[in-house]
């Protein structure tokens, strides 16, 4: 996993655990450990599930360049006393999560450490339900998977990078020296 994916996961988590939306969870977490206790429901989990890097352009040109698809797993786990309404509450909460993240301009146009736009698009958002059959109550888990696409380049470290070329020319067979034509190189 690249640091950028983790950064995006953390930014999503931060936005879902502040303000009024945090009142919907009794607990929240970014890692699947330690074991969740059943008196801490409803629980919001924001995981970095997977990261896929696909070539960005020809794969044998320039430095390794990728289009990264980071899959965030957003899970709401809750209990209910009435199986008739088991999915209603988490459905509302799933809508709230989608709206909170995707209408937040500071998240959608997230910047990296250099101030450049980071996220390119959100090409996929899926929602699934899981009903564990065992346990002391009726449980339901709504699983959102949000794919976040961004570009990821692996430029070689160049502490003495060539930034310009200083050219001094002398016309032949005779002529005055033409000094210091400085040609800046694109970085």
């Amino acid at each position: 996993m690249t640091t950028l994916s983790t950064y995006i996961r953390d930014q999503a988590y931060n936005r879902l655990t502040v303000g009024s939306i945090k009142d919907n969870w009794r607990s929240s977490r970014k890692f699947p450990v330690p074991t969740l206790q059943s008196d801490l429901l409803p629980c919001l989990s924001v995981y970095l599930m997977q990261e896929d890097l696909n070539p960005d352009g020809d794969d044998n040109v320039s430095v390794p360049r990728y289009i990264a698809d980071a899959i965030l797993g957003l899970s709401i786990f809750d209990e209910t006393t009435d199986p008739e309404v088991i999915d209603g509450n988490v459905d509302v909460l799933a809508d709230l999560i989608e709206e909170t993240l995707l209408t937040d301009i500071s998240f959608v146009s997230l910047k990296d450490s250099t101030g450049a736009p980071l996220i390119e698009s959100f090409p996929r958002l899926s929602r699934r339900y899981h009903f564990p059959s065992q346990g002391e109550k009726y449980f339901v888990e709504c699983r959102l998977q949000l794919t976040v696409r961004y570009r990821c380049y692996f430029a070689p470290p160049t502490p003495t990078a060539l930034t310009s070329v200083d050219v001094t020319s002398t016309p032949v067979p005779t002529g005055a020296v033409v000094p210091n034509i400085i040609i800046p190189l694109p970085q």
Partner: protein, 115 residues
């Protein structure tokens, strides 16, 4: 059964919708398990079971019926919340598992709201 059973109250909401509650007895057992959630995250919970003897019942409870018990009659340590031992805790029958020898184990789901 005679030694370990505890008193319960059966509300036959599903099997006899118009019938009144009636007392019965059963043996409570608890299994501690982990339910696996997204990203293989474990959540600790319990399976609550009530063992009954068919011969003790004129009408046998079925899935969807309610069974209530005093908190103090439930297995020690089951309820971690602060609750009076005399408070009633309601369960709904989620599944029944007859043992073929005149007994049955009910798999219960707690229906009392979050305490």
């Amino acid at each position: 059964m005679a030694t370990f059973s505890k008193p319960v109250v059966v509300t036959p909401k599903k099997s006899q919708p118009t019938a009144a509650q009636f007392p019965a007895r059963g043996v409570w057992t608890i299994d501690n398990i982990s339910v696996i959630m997204e990203n293989d995250a474990p959540m600790s919970t319990r399976v609550v079971k009530l063992g009954i003897k068919y011969a003790d019942f004129k009408f046998v409870p079925m899935q969807g019926d309610f069974i209530s018990s005093k908190a103090g009659d439930l297995p020690l340590g089951y309820l971690v919340e602060k609750i009076s031992p005399s408070a009633m805790v309601d369960f709904i029958i989620d599944n029944d598992q007859p043992d073929g020898q005149g007994g049955c184990t009910y798999i219960m789901k707690r229906s009392t709201a979050r305490l």
